[in-house]
């Protein structure tokens, strides 16, 4: 009896042992490391970033909101490249409708329609989501150009936009508040709601998820609806804050939001990752961007920084490290064999 009890307790003992299992199960390690490095560097080099935290918060919300929606899709091992154009298109649609409320509704509906179209191509036709959403990225950008007549559209109701930019609760602007709400909503959805938890199963092993009776296609639809809706929400926020909608908007958001999600430990093949990780990734990128801007670093150099971080993030996930270590081991073993032979 005691023996079986001990067999059951196969896991590591003690506080540090348990801590190690918890850490091993989490996926946010790289995001936390990057955030720590950036925070320490910033505290010494440009402490202004930390005192001017409302600015940093605004930047984090800008990068993070699209990344949060993207994470829902990445958890299932799919990718949504069309987020950047969805953002631009919904902004343009919103600005070209004179009535503000109707405009916002139309913009959000645009996001849902785009999500549904993406899901149709991925789940029903069976196209790889990278290619399907890449096609959508260009088609939707074209549509944004068509609707806006290839020029920025200014918002009819400018007062609403100005009011939107002002702090609402304490130093928090509506943008930051919406970001926090979206974070809580998606976090609760993927960690507490059955449909959301099934995202991990769909991403981890699609066939197994299908065999277990999970409606895989419907989950993929849900995921793309979330990412489409959230990116159109980001488009609405952007348009309100700037009081104009630019059809070319969102090209930098594409890079930054992917970087945030991937640094946050979301595994691109699906099944592993967390919304908290994306938040950490967005936070580190937001602080980095604000710090670089405050130190007078030019925009091209900022792009180099974020591009490099994305490249490092995508080549240092556990599977990549395993692939490289495995490759080296195979190469050395192969050499040893030929030497003995």
């Amino acid at each position: 009896m005691t023996e079986t009890m001990q067999l059951g307790k196969a896991g590591p003992q003690g506080f540090f042992g348990r801590l190690r299992t918890v850490v091993a199960r989490r996926t946010e390690g790289r995001g936390v490391a990057l955030l720590a490095v950036i925070l320490v560097t910033v505290a010494f080099v440009e402490p202004l970033v930390l005192t001017a935290y409302p600015v940093s918060l605004g930047r984090i919300a800008l990068i993070g909101i699209v990344a949060l929606g993207l994470t829902a899709v990445i958890l299932m091992g799919e990718l949504d490249l069309s987020v950047a154009s969805t953002l631009a298109l919904s902004g343009v649609i919103m600005a070209s409708i004179p009535d503000l409320r109707l405009g916002v509704l139309a913009a959000l509906a645009t996001g849902l329609v785009v999500g549904a179209i993406n899901a149709f191509f991925v789940a029903v036709i069976g196209i790889n989501s990278f290619i399907a959403t890449l096609g959508m990225l260009f088609a939707l950008r074209g549509l944004a150009f068509v609707i806006s007549d290839e020029a920025p559209v200014s918002l009819a109701n400018k007062d609403a936009g100005i009011a939107f930019g002002l702090p609402l609760i304490g130093p928090l602007t509506p943008r930051v508040l919406i970001f926090i709400l979206v974070f809580i909503a998606i976090q609760v959805f993927v960690s507490r709601v059955k449909a959301g938890r099934e995202f991990f199963a769909v991403g981890g092993n699609r066939q197994a998820a299908y065999d277990a009776g999970i409606p895989v296609k419907r989950r993929i639809l849900t995921g793309f609806l979330i990412s489409g809706f959230v990116s159109s929400l980001a488009g609405v926020i952007n348009t309100l804050e700037r009081t104009t909608a630019d059809p070319t908007a969102g090209s930098t958001v594409l890079l930054a939001s992917f970087a945030a999600a991937i640094i946050g430990g979301n595994y691109l093949k699906g099944g592993r990752g967390s919304i908290v990780g994306t938040l950490i990734g967005a936070t580190s990128l937001g602080i980095l961007q604000v710090a670089l801007t405050l130190s007078g670093v030019q925009v091209p150099v900022q792009e180099i920084f974020i591009g490099a971080i994305l490249l490092i993030a995508v080549t240092t996930d556990p599977a990549s490290i395993r692939a490289v270590v495995g490759g080296i081991r195979q190469a050395t073993r192969g050499r040893a064999k030929t030497e003995t032979a």
């Binding site: 069976g126 399907a132 990225l137 074209g142 091209p300 792009e303 180099i304």
Partner: protein
Amino acid sequence: MAKETLTETIAVAEAASIEPQAKQTTSGRLFMWVADNGIFVFTALLVLFAVIFVDGFASLVNITDVFHRAAPIGIVAVGMTFVVISGNYLDLSVVAQVATSAVIFIAVSNVYGIPLAMLAALVAAVLYGLANGIAVGFFKANAVIVTLSTTYIGLGLLRYFSGGSIFFGPQDGPIREFGLGKLGPVPYSAVVLLIMTILLSILLTRTNFGFLVRSFGVNEKATRLSGTNTGLVIIGAFIVTAIAAMIAGFVLAAFSNTAVSAMSDGYDFRALAAIIVGGTSVFGGKGSVFRTLLGVIFVSVLTNVLVLSQISFGYQQVALGALIVLAVSVDAVARKVSKR
């Protein structure tokens, strides 16, 4: 030994895709035929349509213009075919590669002469190919994300060092002569495209390297287990793409006699459209360089027809985006049908 095993793998894979086809109904067979060979018919029909119905298409000036515009995109596309056939989706960083090569070519040749400029551009191209290839081949990272990040790194570096300024070439000299020169009605740039197509087609179909690229696209695991260093094959595919993009940069710079970091916007997308429409599968393994050339003709003629019909840039983007999704859908459905 390795090659024989792989030949069998490919033969088995091909047999599997061909055999059930014979049992298909007439409509199924027709669909498969259209999915496979439709591009030949569609290109012919499109050209015929343009000649008859579109004003100003069938003039020498316009045809020369089509050639001039098609050449750099086509050179990028025939190179990128290697990455697509190897099953790695695409190389988004060709945008940065073409611009880098063009700017280096004009800026360096103004000061140090053409040979040194070509050498510098070659170094940059090989660096791009190595960065993408190592990340995708050895680190097994997602090609779309890797090339997205190298695009931004490359364009950022280019804008930083060039200060975003426009570089002008000399008013006369070999670059200008090449850029404006023609062989009969065909500009030199289109001749370069044709030569690149033939060379890369030989590389893809007649050499060991090309064979390994194709077999990697058909079955990655079998290729690795047969003792191939698959990482090197992927690096090779990305370097071929980078060198083609470099040559496209030369051609583009010579034609416009200027170079600026934003000159190749949308090349990734147009090249991908040409490759996919030509019938090279984004699922890897299937396709050819000549098919890509056909796709380039189709996409270029289509763009030209849209421009001549005074359809705005926005609608052109919508049309090309829809074309990509449609062509991939046809390929995906054809795969499902043939598996059934």
